[in-house]
Symmetry: none
Subunit: 408 residues, 2 copies
């Protein structure tokens, strides 16, 4: 069974709104094992919509459309599908009743009346959040499911009515698991399991990268959920074997919250001393709701003076080695830990750019240091690429990977 998603309307075509309906529907169909090979966006135009329907039914069995069911003259989705299937429009009594109920406290504009019309023989789909019912048409083995455009109406209708309708057209169940990695890039990780990526068909393995993190999504299909889950397991285990040191969590788990939760579990607290990251490290930790249990204190020590009076960095070392040096990073980490009486002190100092670099200390040079109670303070020298924002984001990400190694 192949489906195609239609997003209909001039607003969506001209980029005035983001197409969140199509995203939702595509993702749900994929989970149900209904193939989606194309999505088409077309304006409110009868001729072009008819052409698009024609093309779509040559390559798919189901069209799920959103948009173009409003009360105004330029809304013509329903009329066009009716024309395509050669059906007249008739008033649907249940939809008319809903419509009147919707307008019980105010006068209904006459133009809304046409929203109760559906093609003869079609099944109306109730809309609890708006005035336009959805429509289900099945004819000569082709199915059209026509939904309104506003996501507040469309998505509940898809979830509550369309999904149950589609169940009989699929006998596959898909189960996915994401393994979230840090400390390794998408290219490098994919290179390591190149053969697996290319040959694995069920389950499939797909790499994704965003915001300096990466994940592998493993997806298996089976006749039942149990069968799909069973198929998933060996591949997931194998990925754990290969990438054990990089995997920090699964599915929706984010790096910062994994760290905060591990700190809570280990009864540890943290304090930050930031130069080049300028608050981004602390902010990324505090983004996690339970951070207040572990985050004690932070200093954004941007000037040399404040490194001395806030963090007790030795003035002579600052002059001798410079603010961007392993010596200063280590003293910053120890300074914030001692001052805040935390288990962990973490520090960053570097040249985020675009200016401020020299031949010896170029833009992108960053030192991070982590001081832990009862352990020797560690440091790491980094050479990072990208603009100011990227250098700062990557530094925070590497701080997190290093923290994870310590508290894992």
């Amino acid at each position: 069974m192949k489906a195609e998603i239609f997003s209909i309307g001039t607003e969506i075509l001209l980029g005035e709104i983001l197409d969140s309906n199509a995203k939702h529907i595509a993702s749900e169909l994929a989970n149900m094992g209904i193939d989606v090979f194309y999505k088409t966006t077309v304006g409110d135009n009868e001729k072009r919509l008819l052409d698009a329907i024609d093309i779509a039914y040559k390559r798919a069995d189901i069209i799920i459309s959103t948009g173009g069911l409003g009360p105004t003259d330029d809304d013509l989705t329903k009329e066009t599908f009716a024309k395509y299937f050669n059906k007249e429009l008739i008033t649907d009594e249940a939809s008319l009743k809903n419509l009147k109920e919707y307008f019980k406290n105010e006068e209904m504009p006459l133009s809304n009346l046409k929203q109760a019309d559906i093609p003869k023989g079609a099944i109306p789909i109730e809309n609890k959040n708006g005035t336009a019912p959805g429509i289900f048409i099945e004819e000569n083995g082709k199915i059209a499911i026509i939904l309104p455009g506003p996501p507040k109406e469309c998505i509940p209708m898809f979830e509550n009515s369309v999904k149950p309708m589609l169940k009989k057209y699929t006998n596959k169940v898909l189960v996915s698991k994401s393994l979230n990695l840090c400390g390794i890039g998408e290219s490098k990780a994919s290179e390591i399991i190149k053969d697996m990526l290319n040959t694995s068909k069920n389950p499939t393995i797909a790499p994704y990268a965003n915001n300096n993190e990466m994940r592998f999504r493993v997806t298996a299909s089976g006749k039942t959920k149990e069968e799909a889950t069973e198929l998933l397991k060996p591949t997931v285990d194998k990925l754990y074997d290969i990438f054990n040191e990089y995997i920090y969590g699964e599915d929706e788990e984010r790096l910062a919250s994994v760290i905060v939760n591990k700190l809570i579990k280990n009864n540890m607290t943290i304090a930050t001393a930031e130069s080049c990251t300028g608050g981004l490290l602390a902010s990324s930790i505090i983004d996690v709701a339970s951070a207040s249990k572990v985050f004690l204190n932070g200093v954004i020590s941007y000037s040399n003076e404040s490194k001395v009076y806030e963090l007790n960095v030795c003035k002579e070392d600052l002059e001798k080695y410079g603010a961007v040096s392993k010596e200063v990073a280590i003293q910053m980490a120890e300074g914030i830990k001692n001052k805040s009486n935390s288990t962990i002190g973490i520090a960053t100092t570097g040249i985020a750019g675009p200016t401020g670099g020299t031949k010896e200390k170029p833009v992108g040079l960053v030192y991070i240091a982590i001081a832990v109670d009862g352990k020797e303070t560690i440091y790491k020298e980094l050479m990072l690429k990208g603009n100011r924002q990227k250098v700062r984001e990557k530094t925070v990400n590497i701080c997190f990977s290093e923290l994870l190694k310590i508290i894992k």
Copy 2:
């Protein structure tokens, strides 16, 4: 001239990410007077992509595609367009140089090498934010413009390179100016000029909101740049008259950089004391490259203890009024100013949620305070809606609007 937008990739087809590239490109093409009648989304599949190209060139002259230029084997956009146009792929030396420059500090995975290949006779489009160049192909009156998928790469390339390339295919010149506002919401601002928004055709006025800021974009079209600029002026002047107190800049000017530049100009320095914003305020200032000239020091004082030892907040007041109070906010602002010897000290304290609220002090209650040399310290009580992240972002935005009033 008709264009069609292609969004290529399994991720986008299966609804795993929103298609923000297509939204941006469609909206900009509409502004340039280039018709877009269809958008097509297709997965990383040669046969289906070839079919879609075939269909598109029957109804359009230009295909602008995004996605599928990554280093892995499943990325095949470039290869498929090359096949369609019957052209071999050759190494583009400039792109190869960029690629090597990008990886100068680390080993380049071998798979990345293919990103420097372009179809013979095509024009590469420089990518300053990633490894895949874009590609411009013109052949038998058909044009393909192939861009990478990540919006951070795609959108700057579209703006800086593709738009100038497309100029010759349109005989309209569009001139836009954005007026950037802070301290007023999109709905409220739009309501004030409702009639103007509805009736103004050339220039058009479009409101946009993102990240707690809003802007009006005024766009005029004319036969020449001069004509369009002339048409723009009266509307821009009128908006300045109406929204003078809210407009902080034009076009690409961002609020944080306007503030940093004004601080530099006024010879002022700043220090931050953050509780609920947790480093986000400092980080947003330090995001601006010249921030090191004005930002002296920051403290993220998350625990009550650190408010005392870092900011000299009176312990009795902390107990009497609580950490989230105007009294504590004021003392935090004055404490950080005195400690850092800065012209301005700014402080935030509040309940970002999701927990921690009480009936008297609910989630969303935030106090900000600003201490300025030689002036009385001001404070502001806010009741903010939204999740933890939103409360923190809105607080930072309001800090900026208040700062702007002081240094304007």
